[in-house]
């Protein structure tokens, strides 16, 4: 009980904590312009109290990203982050975080509407994968649908085309000829992928609302299986209510390597729905539901999440959430019943 109250106390503290600590001529969230380069980043600190596991306070993400607009040929982007650094853990002990190169690429402007990108990118699959920075997303726990079933990163080449005045505003194709560059540790990314090829089309409904469709094919390194995946994402606002959903369906085939996880199903699928209601511009209530059937698990995982978010200014958000997980849970599960609270700041 003592530790169950930990996230609640943290959430209370956030409400009285000063939200701005700004130097003159600097606004939190705007980053820094240094000649042709722009430096920015975000931090996300979490209190996690899952049932049956030690409570902990950790730096979930400390991310720095820089981009440059040098000329038509050279427009680099780099994102480096410190991930999962435990600060305090119930019963003692700590886990040191990992320094990760999340993205590292260069853009060449082929024309006003065409960009050729070389390097490590976030795979454009759904919306969440491209926007997963904690200050930009409404909840703390990332749904499986947005990450588990596909290569979330692609290392290779990519072509982005802006269609202009059309139903489809832009599309992106990408190809990863081998494996992920600067591979993330197994604790963060239990699956790795090779020979990825995919694409995404984006259909805006307004500046903020959108519908998108994606596909990806490739090979799962750990099992040797090949897969083909289709995805769909939608965001739509109705006044104070914003609805968001993503769906993926993947088909796995080929022999499973000896010693690898058993394939119980040829298909892996997931869907989540999220409703975000803004009581005031600063205070939001959020309800999320997900069903995810992993192809290496007999039964699906089902989860329901209730959250509150307080955004005192654009780059700062405090979150408190309770998630209930039912169905099958595996060693890789990141969604477990319990409480979480977080402070996310973009700087």
């Amino acid at each position: 009980m003592r530790y169950t109250l930990f996230p609640l106390i943290f959430f209370q503290l956030m409400l009285v904590f000063p939200t701005t600590c700004q130097a003159e001529k600097y606004e939190l969230g705007q980053g820094w312009d240094i000649d042709k380069y722009h430096l920015s980043g975000y931090a996300n600190i979490e209190v996690v109290d899952r049932f049956g596991a030690p409570a902990k306070l950790e730096v979930d993400d400390l991310s720095l990203f820089a981009n440059g607009r040098v000329n038509r040929w050279v427009n680099p982007f780099l994102e480096v982050e410190l991930s999962k650094q435990t600060l305090i853990r119930q019963g003692g002990g700590r886990v040191n975080g990992d320094i990760i190169i999340e993205r590292f690429y260069n853009d060449t402007e082929l024309s006003e509407n065409d960009i050729f990108r070389v390097g490590k990118i976030l795979s454009p699959l759904g919306d969440w994968n491209l926007m997963h920075a904690a200050p930009l997303i409404p909840i703390i726990t990332r749904p499986y649908t947005t990450a588990r079933g596909f290569g979330a990163y692609s290392s290779g080449i990519s072509w982005i085309h802006n269609v202009g005045e059309s139903v489809i505003s832009d599309f992106q194709l990408y190809w990863q000829p081998d494996e992920e560059w600067f591979r993330r540790p197994k604790s963060l990314a239990p699956r790795s992928f090779r020979n990825l090829f995919g694409g995404h089309v984006n259909m805006p409904l307004s500046l903020i609302d959108k519908v998108g469709a994606s596909f990806q094919s490739g090979q799962l390194v750990e099992t040797g299986e090949t897969f083909n995946l289709f995805g769909f994402n939608a965001d739509k606002s109705f006044g104070r209510l914003k609805l968001e959903s993503e769906l993926i369906m993947a088909h796995f085939s080929g022999m499973v390597l000896p010693g690898a996880a058993t394939r119980f199903h040829d298909r892996e699928s997931g869907i989540f729905w999220l409703a975000d209601y803004s009581f005031t511009p600063k205070f939001h209530g959020i309800l999320e539901w997900e069903r995810y059937q992993d192809h290496t698990m007999i039964m699906p995982s089902r989860s329901t999440l209730l959250a509150f978010a307080y955004r005192p200014s654009i780059p700062v958000v405090w979150k408190l959430e309770y998630i209930h997980q039912a169905g099958e849970s595996a060693s890789f599960s990141t969604i477990k019943t319990g409480w979480k609270a977080a402070l996310a700041v973009m700087f």
């Binding site: 606004e27 920075a133 802006n162 500046l207």
Partner: protein
């Protein structure tokens, strides 16, 4: 009574003018006018070059300014909060957000000196050395 009405009327005109914005651009920008649709494309990072191939450099006021609030509503029909969140998302995707300047005079100075730049100021100002592309009511 007539004098009082004239004073009230004049005050109202001044008040209305004070709420208007001027969209200004550097002298190197080839356009003489601009539409709100073109402003949306520029301020949402969809348009990155002018017709003469000069890079577009959009300039914003700070998030708490009344000019930015007015611009967000007049051009995007969004609150500064919603637009700020949009730009944060763009920034995370590697797109550079508009440059921030902290006063009308600073916007004028920036736009005058940086080729391809475009910004907005209160219509009470009489900017020199820049092009006025649009008056936003």
């Amino acid at each position: 009574m007539r004098t009082l009405l004239l004073i009230l009327g004049f005050s109202w005109v001044v008040l209305l003018q004070a709420e208007e914005l001027l969209v200004i651009a550097s002298p190197q920008v080839p356009s003489a006018t601009i539409s709100t649709k073109q402003l949306v494309d520029i301020y949402s990072s969809k348009r990155i070059h002018w017709e003469n191939d000069i890079k577009v450099v959009p300039v914003n006021r700070e998030s708490t300014s009344s000019e930015r609030e007015k611009f967000s509503e007049a051009v995007f029909n969004l609150s500064p909060q919603a637009l700020g969140e949009y730009w944060n998302r763009q920034k995370f995707q590697g797109k550079r957000p508009p440059v921030i300047q902290y006063s009308d005079q600073a916007v004028v100075n920036f736009v005058r000196s940086i080729p391809g730049s475009i910004g907005y100021i209160n219509a009470k100002q009489s900017p020199a050395g820049v092009k006025v592309l649009l008056r936003l009511p």
